[in-house]
């Protein structure tokens, strides 16, 4: 039995049949391999997935710093998304990301409807804060009781003259956070992008899509891009703002970092504004170099290309010594990766930079194209759950549509750069590597035992399970409160953190000496102290007795 079969063996027939399709071992012809993805998690199987609301508010809308986002629902949903995702933001006048807003619905609101309270909450929010824009995110019960948040949003716009966008991102929609990304993308596309002044497109300008500035990754990526000479118009949405989003159509090119969460906007901007997009990855040294070169290639400007090489050379020189040091410390180690969207792919590059091989990679909420590449998109069958998520179509904007290149020129570019393409995770993995969709707790433990990776990069729900099992475990959602990990300097931060985990002195003390060394010595019976008489409070618990 290989690792996959061993792991699946414990499941009942029904669960086995389901989970089998979500796990594959990369073979010699990965282009022929198919994986099941973006389908329901099985009730009772401890999935790491979150909900639609988490994808919409938590991921895409949450980072906007000039926008007051009211979560319409009971208190928890807003509370859990308060300052917990490390999407850093800087704003001289203050940032809404430090705040948590909720209608804190009570039982009477659930019974009689919550719209009135929402309207009042909006009034209070606007009077207190005077935000640039207002967003409303709904939660499970709101969808069930039928509050019309979109009508409230329209009323708000009419009454207060402020942009107001409602997102029906109830937690039960779709099968994971992914549905929420899509809903957020739709709202932003419909109501925000391209509503700014129609200034001429800025030469060599880009948007950074799907970069949420976790641990400052976005800032580090921006620093590199600006060094080369690009103008970054908008970042979606790390350290992002409503204001910047309105101007995003003025950029010449979209750079897509996290394909899963934002490819909808990239696609729609292509149709509506003619903006091309390329897939980039600024996680990893070689990956960052490649991405910088790809972007320069897109613009085809010799001066940019020259500058790109200078920046690469300079950044490499800056990290050369530390790079060698950590490479020596980490080469030969193996890693398992389980994160949300694209990181399980991106971080393989970064690990490879330091000689670490990835033996397992999985996504929480990917679709088949994230595994197998965009070529499979036409073959993906819609199911009941995905059909419930609105897919909007956009038309070319007569005023703002601009093609940079002809189709023939684009075709030429496609041969050398990932223009409107993403090849997915599987082609980049070595044969024998395991790919798992919606990896659950049991499989995490089981694969850990089978594959024995030295490092397991996952989220906080797994982290302590893995660590307790003796594996080095770092959170790849929050970077264990470190970062940035993007770009050249970020790569060193990452390597330092991984090395720190592996070489932490505390590992030496896991096993106490008396477990390996005898402590009992011969003694006269009379010398041995009598154990104290145990009273009821001292008595071992029933569980200890039964376990013994």
């Amino acid at each position: 039995m290989d690792a996959k079969d061993k792991v699946l063996d414990k499941y009942s027939a029904k669960v086995y049949k389901n989970r089998k399709a979500h796990i594959l071992e990369v073979g010699q012809a990965p282009e022929e391999q198919e994986i099941a993805a973006n389908t329901r998690s099985i009730p009772g199987i401890m999935t790491n997935r979150g909900c639609c609301y988490a994808g919409c508010k938590g991921v895409v809308i949450g980072p906007l710093k000039d926008t007051l986002t009211i979560v319409h629902g009971p208190i928890g949903c807003s509370y859990y998304a308060w300052g917990t995702r490390r999407n850093k933001a800087r704003a001289d006048e203050g940032s809404f990301t430090q705040y948590c807003f909720s209608t804190d619905l009570q039982e009477t609101d659930i019974v009689f409807g919550g719209e009135k309270k929402l309207r009042q909450a909006i009034k209070e929010g606007l009077e207190l804060f005077k935000p640039r824009a207002l967003m409303i995110c709904s939660t499970c019960p709101v969808g069930l009781i039928g509050d019309d948040i979109h009508a409230v949003a329209s009323e708000t716009e009419a009454e207060y003259g402020i942009p107001c966008i409602a997102f029906s991102c109830e937690g039960y929609k779709g099968v994971s956070q992914s549905a929420g990304h899509h809903i957020a993308n739709n709202g932003i596309m419909r109501k925000v992008i391209g509503t700014g002044d129609k200034i001429p497109r800025v030469k060599h300008s880009v948007n950074l899509l799907g970069e949420y500035n976790i641990g400052g990754d976005g800032w580090e990526t921006e620093r590199l891009l600006k060094r080369v000479g690009y103008d970054v118009i908008a970042v979606l949405t790390g350290d992002g703002s409503y204001e910047d989003l309105t101007k995003a159509d003025r950029a010449e090119l979209n750079l897509v970092q996290c394909h899963r969460s934002i490819n909808y906007i990239a696609e729609m901007m292509k149709t509506k504004f003619g903006t091309d997009w390329v897939k980039v990855n600024f996680i990893g040294i070689d990956a960052s170099i490649q991405s910088l070169r790809d972007v320069a290639e897109y613009f085809g400007d010799e001066e940019l290309k020259k500058r790109t090489e200078e920046v690469i050379e300079d950044e490499l020189a800056e990290i050369a010594e530390e790079r060698d040091y950590y490479r020596e410390k980490l080469t030969g180690k193996t890693a398992a990766l389980y994160v949300g969207g694209s990181r399980s792919h991106h971080y393989q590059y970064l690990l490879k930079d330091f000689g670490v091989k990835t033996v397992l990679a999985g996504h929480e909420f990917a679709h088949r194209d994230d595994y197998e590449g965009r070529r499979v998109i036409p073959d993906i069958k819609e199911d009941a759950d995905s059909k419930n998520i609105e897919s909007i179509t956009v038309e070319p904007d007569k005023e703002r549509y601009e093609d940079k290149y002809t189709e023939a020129e684009r075709e030429k570019l496609r041969k050398v750069i990932p223009l409107e393409d993403y090849k997915g995770i599987i082609p980049d993995m070595e044969a024998g590597g395991v790919v798992v969709d919606d990896l659950n707790h049991y499989e995490t433990e089981a694969f850990l035992a089978e594959l024995k990776p030295d490092i397991f990069l996952s989220g906080v729900k797994d982290k302590y399970i893995l660590q307790k099992s003796g594996a080095v475990s770092r959170q790849l959602h929050s970077y264990d409160y470190s970062g940035p990990y993007a770009g050249f300097r970020g790569a060193i931060n990452f390597a330092r953190d991984i090395a720190m985990g592996i070489y932490a002195p505390a590992w030496k003390y896991v096993t106490p000496p008396w477990k390996t060394e005898p402590v009992l010595q011969a003694a006269f019976v009379n010398d041995t102290p009598e154990p104290e008489t145990a009273d009821a409070a001292d008595a071992p618990k029933e569980s200890e007795v039964t376990n013994a």
Partner: protein
């Protein structure tokens, strides 16, 4: 930090800003983790379980296991019965717990899933249990979820047999494993056998051994949960947290209860020990008397650093009541006392404490159903010398540059705190040290060089 917060008060009736509470299910999950061999189970959308597990892991820096019904839109329309059936079967199959403790969510509550009926229909393996409680997120707070889950266990499991088991049931309130250990240690020192329920020690502070145990050594054994019905009486600690389950146990098994505040500070700890002593007709041992004396000793040693300092206290109701009582014992002056959990009983309890300490209640802002946004606004208006509360308070502490002592739930930004008690004399001694250090560090930081005291 918090630069958008305007000065001046503003009456809000609908918008909650920077809450000081969260929703019921996470409390239910935490309580369920305090029963040995138990798998908490969230009947709702999987995002709830994900958020709650994450939240608990961030506070305790420990695994927090829980399964979910993984509702989709279909289940939300047709009901979650089949999700629960599949879910429970899979949990028993794959994770093999002794018991599954189901709590609802705002989703399953709003569609009106009949949990009693669903659970009666389940195919439960021989010797295993499934219990449930209703935890609508739109009622109360995580505190309600905690006590509702306790009541759920009692309702389903606790039974009265012919004989007393010679124990007193102690309900510890919503506290850390370190507090639960301390309560057990005190009872042990008293030689008074207790059943602590729930008991997350050994679960949410499990040691590093190189092996992950899904059901670690700790937790109230199932047999003891059943045996609650045979206890001589219940000592319910935390008036707003533990009374409901105490009533439930009285109703079901006729076990009387004494309702006491969380044993935070001297007076409340005295009351707890006196109650234990009287229940068993035992003396309080010298070991504990010594601890008490040591605490009073340092309180006198350093009183001149603390007496008269204005303090803001915020967090969960019973914790805040306990911290306020101790603050008053230290001679601190509570300026703001706030909880996010609704219930005017909180206001009454705090005002009673203030009155007993001779503090004019007009000089103190006491509020239940409050939030940290208004606390910030109050503090902008009339500052304090010290804040005691949960992690989110750090924003205000940074914005207004106020010394800050972390206590309560959640503390997401520090390590090791769940191991240390704030209950009992030992817990109070630790709190005292933290409070005094915060105030004295501030004096060191702010004083002129010529005023820096090497001896204080």
């Amino acid at each position: 930090m918090l630069d958008l917060t305007p000065k001046g008060e503003y009456e809000r009736t609908a918008l909650r800003i920077n809450p000081c509470k969260t929703c019921q299910p996470v409390g239910a999950m935490y309580a369920a983790l305090g029963v040995h061999g138990c798998m908490p189970y969230s009947h709702g959308s999987q995002g709830c379980a994900s958020y709650h597990r994450t939240f608990l892991s961030r506070h305790f820096k420990e695994p927090a296991i829980a399964a979910t019904s993984s509702f989709t839109e279909g289940a939300s329309v047709f009901g979650g019965g089949s999700n629960l059936r599949t879910g429970a079967r899979n949990v028993f199959d794959v994770y093999n717990p002794e018991i599954i403790a189901v709590h609802t969510t705002c989703l399953s509550e709003t569609i009106g899933d009949d949990m009693n009926a669903y659970i009666q229909d389940l195919d439960i393996p021989e010797g295993k249990h499934v219990i449930h409680t209703n935890t609508p997120s739109y009622v109360g707070s995580h505190i309600n979820g905690y006590f509702n889950m306790m009541s759920g266990f009692i309702r389903y499991l606790s039974a009265k047999s012919e004989i007393h088991n010679g124990r007193v049931a102690v309900f510890p309130g919503f506290v850390n494993p370190g507090d639960m250990r301390e309560i057990r240690r005190m009872a042990k020192a008293m030689k008074t056998p207790i059943t602590l329920f729930p008991d997350t020690s050994g679960v949410m502070d499990a040691p590093m051994t190189g092996h992950f145990a899904m059901y670690p050594q700790g937790g109230t054994p199932l047999g003891d949960v059943i045996g609650l019905g045979d206890c001589m009486k219940t000592i319910a600690l935390g008036e707003l947290t533990s009374e409901e389950p105490a009533i439930e146990l009285e109703r079901k098994c006729g076990v009387d209860y004494d309702l006491l505040p969380l044993p935070i500070g001297i007076d409340a700890t005295d009351r707890f020990l006196m109650t234990l002593a009287k229940s068993f007709n035992r003396d309080v041992p010298y070991e504990l008397e010594e601890e008490r004396g040591q605490l009073v000793d340092v309180m006198l040693d350093a009183h001149f650093y603390l007496v008269g300092k204005r303090v803001a206290i915020f967090g969960d109701p019973d914790t805040v009541i306990g911290l306020t009582a101790f603050a008053l014992e230290l001679g601190l002056v509570p300026a703001y006392v706030l909880t996010g959990t609704p219930g005017e009983r909180f206001d009454r309890r705090v005002k009673k404490l203030l009155a007993a300490a001779g503090v004019d209640e007009e000089t103190v802002r006491v509020k239940s159903s409050g939030d940290l946004f208004e606390l910030h606004q109050w503090m902008m208006d009339a500052p304090v010398d010290l804040m005691i509360g949960t992690s989110y308070g750090k924003q205000i502490a940074k914005a207004l540059d106020v010394p800050f002592v972390r206590a309560g739930f959640p503390i997401l930004d520090r390590y090791a705190h769940p191991y240390f008690p704030i209950v009992g004399y030992r817990g109070a001694l630790r709190l005292f040290e933290q409070i005094a250090n915060a105030v004295m560090d501030r004096q060191d930081r702010d004083c002129a060089d010529e005023d820096l005291e090497v001896v204080m």
